[in-house]
């Protein structure tokens, strides 16, 4: 019997019951390994928030034990939190060559390069720590150079899949190590930690090859210019667009900062090839015949300031979409972005463009990078884990994933559906979930990290819905008479010019409230303010059915 209380444990600091801010932790005694450090984009209820990152409290408190930050691949929800992580923790980062390229872009933006130890690994790397060894296996996904991770611990092997699908005909040679996975499974897997994004979708994910053949077809049919919008990081798809362009004698122009930067990284590091002279500058597009050009652009998620949106509304300087041009949306809207993407499609139709859009299964222009149910079952079958922990998904996806695991033989009761922060401890081959570590959302707002919380957001919400009213009154310290005011200012509440009467009545009310209190000899500011808020609030609600924030300011002179 071991005596250590928690020899082996696993938990998530982000990525469970959500899509985004992935961060997972494997700990064996005093060796901590962090997997991924993602960001998450806030939904519209988080007013003004720019990014959400994981709560790093546990890691900060145990900083001396952390051996590595291992990054499985270069998507935002796996690397977006890294600059904030690095400001607090000086830990070596291990990732593949392409992933490191994207991490470098990011930390350069934040001017953090100097401080960071970046270590290149590949699927053959073996890392030896004091008690734990870490090895890797290749997986297919919608970005090059993705890894799954195996932690070899004295208690047993823990496998983290990273994001994956099985694609037997991937673009750009991004094959998965199926034989190696089988071998890992044969050696015995104590716990499998596997992503769940598409656990609700039946069947097997279609192959990236499908996109290639549809892309070819669209290029052959098109007469005018062709615009293709996709995630720049989907380099394998970018490669297929390049190939369709080669077959139809079109030059390629790149529009958008992320497209230019990432293609640059990909070409420099050997993940994307283009013949000499094929790449042209945006300014050359309109000088060539329309049928000689294809344009790769960012903004496929409908981001209002990105290239595609500006092209669609005719606000892009260098390039114009003319009637008869073809626009291909080779990406699916991420949930929440549907409306912005639809707006762009509407604008493109208004310009007279031929627009190829819609779900990948309709157009053939997009396939998911995340495995469907049969992919997930294949991984579970290859790994034959004793314990199973579904991660990287909303609650319903985790539950579906559990059902899949049970269908292929994981024992009932051996799946742990945990929340961020809930720890699965494994000791003597037995897993238990009893304790938790701090976990939650840390908000990034401008320069501030974690300085905006519930009170600030609650105020923003009230301000956003009904605006505010400031009322200022100056009172003499000597005789308690009102010297000046009340004066009211409103913003976001009503049109000032239509509200003379309303605001005059507010001033009358404030005066009465103050006089009434004074006649009772009550002069405390907070009582006055409370009473002003109450009477003015009630009056405004009766008149307008709105509840602006009321800020009474009393100045004593």
């Amino acid at each position: 019997m071991k005596v250590t209380e928690n020899p082996l444990s696993f938990f998530a600091l982000g990525g469970i019951n959500e899509i985004g801010k992935n961060m997972y932790v494997v700990q064996y005694e005093d060796e901590i390994f962090v997997i991924d450090c993602g960001g998450k984009f806030p939904d519209e209820s988080l007013l003004g928030i720019d990014l959400i990152i994981p709560d790093l409290t546990y890691l900060e408190e145990n900083r001396d034990k952390i051996k590595a930050l291992i990054v499985t691949h270069g998507h935002e929800d796996h690397i977006g939190g890294i600059p904030y992580f690095l400001r607090k923790l000086s830990i070596p980062i291990y990732a593949t060559k392409f992933t490191l390229g994207l991490i470098e872009l990011k930390i350069d933006e934040h001017r953090l390069r100097g401080d960071t130890e970046l270590l290149t690994i590949d699927s053959n790397t073996k890392l030896e720590f004091e008690k734990v060894q870490v090895s890797f296996f290749k997986v297919s996904h919608s970005i090059p150079d993705c890894l799954g991770v195996v932690f070899h611990t004295p208690e047993g092997n823990i496998v983290h899949t990273g994001d994956f699908k099985f694609d037997l005909t991937p673009a750009n040679n991004q094959y998965a190590d199926i034989h190696k996975m089988a071998e890992i499974g044969q050696q015995g897997v104590l716990a499998l930690i596997s992503e769940s994004t598409n656990a609700e979708r039946k069947g097997l994910t279609p192959s990236e090859q499908m996109v290639g053949s549809h892309m070819d077809e669209a290029f052959i049919k098109a007469s005018g210019k062709i615009f293709v919008s996709t995630f720049a990081s989907n380099v394998n798809r970018v490669q297929q667009v390049v190939e369709s362009a080669m077959k139809t004698n079109r030059k390629i122009a790149l529009l958008g900062r992320s497209m230019v930067n990432i293609v640059d990284v990909a070409m420099e590091r050997g993940y994307l090839t283009m013949p000499e002279g094929m790449l042209i500058d945006a300014s050359e597009v309109d000088k060539l015949p329309a049928e000689k050009v294809a344009i790769l652009c960012s903004g496929s998620q409908g981001e209002p300031m990105a290239v595609l949106s500006r092209l669609a509304s005719g606000n892009f300087r260098d390039v114009t979409i003319y009637p008869g041009d073809t626009v291909i949306l080779a990406a699916s809207p991420i949930p929440g972005n549907e409306k912005d993407v639809s707006k762009i499609i509407d604008n493109l139709f208004q310009l007279g463009a031929k627009v190829i859009y819609g779900s990948g299964s309709t157009t053939g222009m997009h396939v998911s990078g995340h495995g469907y149910q049969e992919d997930l079952k294949l991984m579970l079958t290859l790994m034959k884990p004793t314990y199973f922990i579904p991660i990287h998904g909303e609650t319903r996806m985790l539950h579906h994933h559990r059902m899949l695991a049970e269908a292929v033989g994981v024992e009932k009761g051996n799946t742990f559906i945990i929340k961020n922060g809930e720890v699965v401890d494994i000791e003597n081959g037995v897993a238990r979930q009893t304790r938790s570590v701090p976990a939650g959302d840390t908000y990034v707002d401008g320069m501030g990290v974690g300085d905006v919380g519930d009170i600030v957001l609650r105020d923003r919400k009230q301000l956003s819905e009904d605006g505010m009213l400031v009322v200022v009154i100056t009172i003499s310290k000597a005789d308690r008479k009102i010297i000046s005011g009340p004066d009211t200012i409103t913003r976001g509440f009503v049109y000032a010019r239509d509200s003379d009467e309303l605001l005059k009545e507010v001033n009358r009310l404030v005066k009465t409230t103050v006089n009434d209190l004074q006649s009772e000899n009550i002069h405390k500011w907070n009582v006055m303010k409370q009473n002003i808020k109450k009477s003015v609030g009630q009056y405004l609600f009766n008149q307008t059915k709105r509840k602006p924030m009321i800020l009474p300011i009393i100045i004593e002179i």
Copy 2:
């Protein structure tokens, strides 16, 4: 040759390039007919707005010519604006018995019943006006008692389809008048005005019958309680749930105000039948064995205060969801509601419920009420119109609908893709689009209709993203000295307790700014305020990368 300038015209005051606030106008000389008066729910960019209704300027300016408001069916996007319409215009409303029932619910809520002339029509009604006759035909849709409208004018016949699908096996006998449509087409249609909601979707809409058989199956399989959430107004679907419950010996409870009210209207007016004693009160649910109860509830769109959401989070007083209960979502999320609906599904899984959800084509629990491409082509084929005006859809849907029309024989150039307010005039058999009438969004915010516009919304947006900072300073009129302040108050910007230093520096800056101006002998308030805004704004942005609204208040005593 006629001499009147615009004998026959058509335009939309809402419903084009959008889904919502449908309102269409057919005018022949001095006879105006208004079709539908819908509301539209604002997206999250319209902070604090409760509802959007059409701009009624044209109708108010021509109130004496308006003969009728004809309402095709009782969905919110066709009746939601009626209370606001009635406050400005006293016009008789024509609708079928069920549609009037829903309109009455609505105007009773607004206490407007006394003033309104409500006239019951059915598909056999013929309305005779001075120059125009109006007749009707039945269409199938996802609510009972829907009509298409024919305007017989001296210039020719104009057909407005209302919302429709072709369903040859509808629930509840809601058959369309296909023979009558064929006859109308034979008589000659000058212009067809047809809805476009599903113009992007290939094939024929599935029949409501499909839902019935899947519902039966789910009821037979279920062991615990069954919850079905759907639009209350989809009475035909409610009827099918009732029938599944009868077959499996379950009683029915209704949860949610809209469910109770609309079922009430439907039963009273003969659109829904239930055996005596089948309906039980919510309070009885937990007294019966779980397998003896089915619950119909509202909230299928994820509305946070509606029943389904409260059930899913365990906050509903009378009824509880236990592990093993079945919850059926028999509705598709309207675009924009996906996240709220997903949250509910997540919560239901956490409660241990069996959840049947997802697109209708996967679960069989929902079919659209709007015709797909083949339905739309069938309508176009039946009507054989000379001119075609697609309505009720976003831009891309209108363009698809145009392509469908051309595919079945509408001449190229004879389709008018218009915007709200753009008028199609037809004279001597020739249609032209050259002029416009006022059209746009009128915002309802609390009691105010149309009193919130761009400035108020812009302020709300700024307040919502970065909050605000009020700075008050009192200056002596006599010697221009600062008597009190500067004092700062912030809301929605930063935590006050963490920002002492920041706000002290703001006060220093304000003092310096005021002193600097005074030393140059500048005492104008607006210059002072401008300079304070500028210096404080710049400082705060440098420190925080946020741009709160800055409100300087200068009091002179």
